[in-house]
């Protein structure tokens, strides 16, 4: 049965390639990227082998801990690991629970991320090439560590699943997970800054981590090399006990999901026509009203911007509040996030898009409505953050430039998204799916889509960015004026062109787009 599950996952992966060439391209790109990580870890490990035993140990424990922590947290962040093998799909088959657990854990490792983790883990053994016994211990430790990654990510997903099904929770969960992660970088930066040398604190951190499940398996080789046999035994016990507890918790959670149907809250109500009453009764107005309603009610939309209010946090942690010029970049960054939020709007509609096709809605009206909705939310937000950032940085002289740059980026990103969402359609979470669930084998497609979008928006806003940098640096009036003129000019130009081009794509390929989305479900 375990073999069957593995084969299923592999088949899903391969079938993804058959569907589109882009999937293959994305996969190859991420595989190359993954290989480079393995290579870096291997080279790093060989480099480490020239250090004293305790330093090698400390580096490996800290590095390994980060990897395990990543595996545990990333599934909660909606990207990365996909829930291809949702246990509920196996509900009707009488599969032994133990087989299902082992099968799902192993299947979770099939893919680029799993292969990279396993190979990187094993290659850390290279750090101990001069001590055969430690080398063996390192391999054992790596296997245990990777097992912790696989089981842990599954356990956390399964244990959180009932919570995740609740709409309210979904809305705050992103924030709960994302904020600590966003702060992690700056915090580490602070630590590096505060403590004069890494060597001073690394052994202490490693000493603590080595006794937690995160670091225990990676500590094994170092313990063996230094002859701390009792400690080595202790780390194995910590690892194995953690694995056992996780399997127990996962098994229990699995039983719960398998026997209980997904719970629905009480039927939701909303009085009257809402946004449909507030916007003009044109087709564009109707689409905008519908989109605004979705921004409000559909957790997929809420999730895509839920972290925006918290985005200032890392900026502030890094540079403090006063005289922190990096805060001036806050509004442009959020403008990009907001504008890009409609880059998968069509895919979010899924086959409900038939209503637009059957009604003969012009593509341009469809595009424009979605843009109006996102600007209704995005413009006030961006202006507010621009003013806030300028105020916090105490750089009122830059306000006009910041506003010009931010609004320009917002318009450019919205315009590019209008084309992208029709030109590059990739599977997203289906309507009503959890925020944390991922469509089958779509991770690479999403990655490619986001990358294309980022590159296009970066290129189109490059002139504005250059002028903005000059304006910030020199404070010259001409640079500020040019930032505003070029920002708004290119923004409006790209937006109009995006609506027209995207609209033509929808007009020409509407039925094909619909057919493609119908094939997903």
């Amino acid at each position: 049965m375990v073999a069957v599950l593995l084969r299923l996952k592999l088949t899903l992966l391969l079938n993804g390639f058959r569907r589109s060439a882009w999937q293959t391209v994305g996969f190859v790109l991420s595989a190359l990227y993954g290989l480079s990580i393995v290579g870096m870890v291997a080279v790093g490990s060989i480099g480490l082998s020239f250090l004293p035993d305790d330093e090698r140990w400390a580096w490996l424990v800290v590095g390994g801990s980060v990897a395990v922590l990543g595996w545990w947290l990333i599934p909660l962040l909606a990207f990365g690991l996909d829930a291809t093998l949702d246990p509920r799909r196996f509900q009707q088959y009488a599969i032994e629970r133990r087989d299902l657990l082992v099968g799902l854990a192993l299947a979770g490792m099939v893919g680029v991320a799993g292969a990279v983790t396993l190979l990187s883990g094993l290659s850390t053994a290279l750090a101990w090439w001069d001590s055969p016994l430690a080398l063996v211990a390192a391999v054992v430790g790596a296997v245990l560590g990777v097992a912790l990654c696989a089981v842990g990510s599954r356990t956390i997903t399964a244990v959180m699943a009932p919570l995740v099904e609740r709409r309210r929770f979904r809305e705050i969960a992103v924030v709960l997970v994302l904020v600590p992660v966003l702060m992690l970088g700056p915090l580490v930066g602070q630590l590096f800054g505060r403590l004069s040398g890494v060597r001073d604190w690394l052994p202490d951190v490693a000493g603590v981590l080595a006794w937690t499940p995160l670091g225990a398996p990676w500590s094994l080789a170092g313990d063996v090399a230094e002859g701390r046999w009792l400690s080595a035994l202790g780390r194995i016990v910590v690892t194995l006990v953690t694995l056992a507890l996780m399997l127990l918790a996962w098994g229990a959670a699995l039983d719960r999901t398998m026997t209980r149907p997904p719970s629905h809250g009480s039927a939701a109500q909303a009085q009257g026509y809402g946004w449909l009453d507030r916007l003009p009764d044109t087709r564009t107005g109707a689409v905008a009203a519908r989109c605004l309603t979705y921004w409000q009610r559909d957790p997929r939309y809420a999730g895509s911007i839920a972290f925006v209010p918290f985005l200032p946090v890392p900026f502030i942690v890094v540079g403090g509040l006063e005289g922190n010029d990096s805060l001036l970049w806050l509004a442009p960054v959020i403008a990009y996030v907001m504008g890009f939020a409609i880059s998968a709007d069509l895919a979010y509609d899924n086959t409900a898009f038939w209503l637009h096709v059957v009604s003969g809605v012009r593509g341009a009206a469809d595009r424009a409505g979605r843009v109006v909705a996102v600007l209704t939310l995005g413009l006030p937000m961006v202006v507010l953050l621009a003013v806030g950032g300028v105020w916090a940085a105490g750089r009122w002289d830059t306000l006009v430039a910041v506003l010009g740059m931010s609004v320009g980026v917002l318009l450019i990103a919205a315009g590019a998204s209008s084309v992208l969402s029709a030109a590059y359609l990739y599977p997203v979470q289906k309507p009503g799916d959890g925020l944390f669930s991922q469509p089958q084998g779509a991770t690479t497609a999403i990655f490619v889509g986001q990358t294309i979008g980022l590159v296009v928006v970066a290129l189109l806003s490059a002139p504005t960015v250059v002028l903005f940098v000059v304006a910030l640096a020199t404070g010259a009036v001409w640079a500020t004026a040019l930032t505003v003129v070029v920002g708004l000019g290119s923004g409006i130009g790209v937006l109009l062109l995006g609506i027209r081009t995207g609209g033509r794509l929808v007009d020409e390929r509407g039925p094909e787009l619909l057919q493609k989305m119908a094939a997903w479900s």
Partner: protein, 280 residues
């Protein structure tokens, strides 16, 4: 246009009444509510619809019957502008669906099967949304939404999100969205599936009234009994081919529609039985 080859169905007995329809070579009938010529579609090399030609007279209540996978949904999707045909033409009241989609779509009200709805809207919002997408002004949309909700028995659930509707209510709200712009031709794919008998009777009455007032209704179904009682005309499709069409009485030729259908399609060969399934 040269005479196209009519593709052969993949396998199975060649139905006795099947022949290349003489309609295939005729031009689109501009008096018909829907005129279909040689409509074909295949998915990844697999033939779904192979050269269907059909005239649906204005003012008829037209049933399209066929087993699962016969190509009913594919044919109706192509006729309503939701799926681009590989080959063939369709017109609605003389307007070519694929050359002038905007004008043709104005004539059509469509209830597709198996596609999602914008179900985060309330029932009232969804119907109103459909109306505004059709370009109706606000007063008209509001008045008609109110009427439709009342007629279809959804008034009490107007403010409930469609995602929380039952399957039957979902069908009804989709039907309302298809009717709001007062189309001349209504095309419904499996409108009675998972609808309770009381609601089904209500829908039937509404459709019959629409036909009586001069409109045209096309429904697909695999419930023969329903089609025989409700429809004036019927077309039988199987394996992507049109096997028979005409008035219900012509097609059934004195037998029950169900018996005639089984004859045409060539099923019902379960004489051997599954020996291991016997419980005694």
């Amino acid at each position: 246009m040269s005479t196209p080859d009519v593709p052969r169905a993949a396998s199975g007995p060649v139905p006795p009444t099947y022949a290349v329809s003489p309609l295939t070579e005729q031009p689109l009938d501009h008096r018909a509510a829907i005129s279909i010529r040689n409509l074909s579609k295949s998915f990844g090399g697999k033939l779904a619809v192979g050269g269907v030609s059909l005239d649906i007279p204005a003012g008829s209540f037209y049933g399209i019957v066929g087993p699962n996978g016969a190509g009913k949904t594919t044919t109706l999707s192509m006729a309503t502008g939701l799926l681009r045909p590989d080959l063939g033409r369709v017109s609605v009241h003389g307007i070519d669906v694929w050359r002038d989609p905007a004008a043709a779509k104005k004539q059509l009200g469509v209830l597709p099967d198996g596609l999602r709805l914008f179900d985060r809207l309330t029932g009232a919002q969804l119907i109103a949304y459909a109306g505004e997408l059709r370009g109706l002004d606000r007063e008209t949309v509001r008045a008609r939404t109110y009427d439709l909700l009342a007629t279809l028995g959804l008034a009490d659930d107007a403010d409930t999100l469609v995602v929380d509707y039952s399957a039957g209510m979902t069908k009804k709200v989709a039907l309302a969205s298809a009717l709001i712009h007062a189309p001349r031709v209504i095309v419904l794919d499996e409108p009675f599936e998972s609808v309770d008998p009381v609601s089904a009777a209500g829908i039937r009455e509404l459709l019959t009234g629409f036909v009586a007032s001069g409109g045209t209704v096309v429904v697909s179904s695999h419930v023969m009994d329903l089609v025989q009682r409700m429809c004036s005309h019927v077309a039988v499709v199987a394996r992507g081919l049109l096997l028979a069409s005409g008035t219900v009485d012509d097609v059934r030729a004195g037998e029950s529609l169900e018996d005639r259908f089984v004859q045409l399609v060539g099923g019902a060969q379960v004489t051997e039985g599954l020996s291991w399934l016997q419980s005694s």
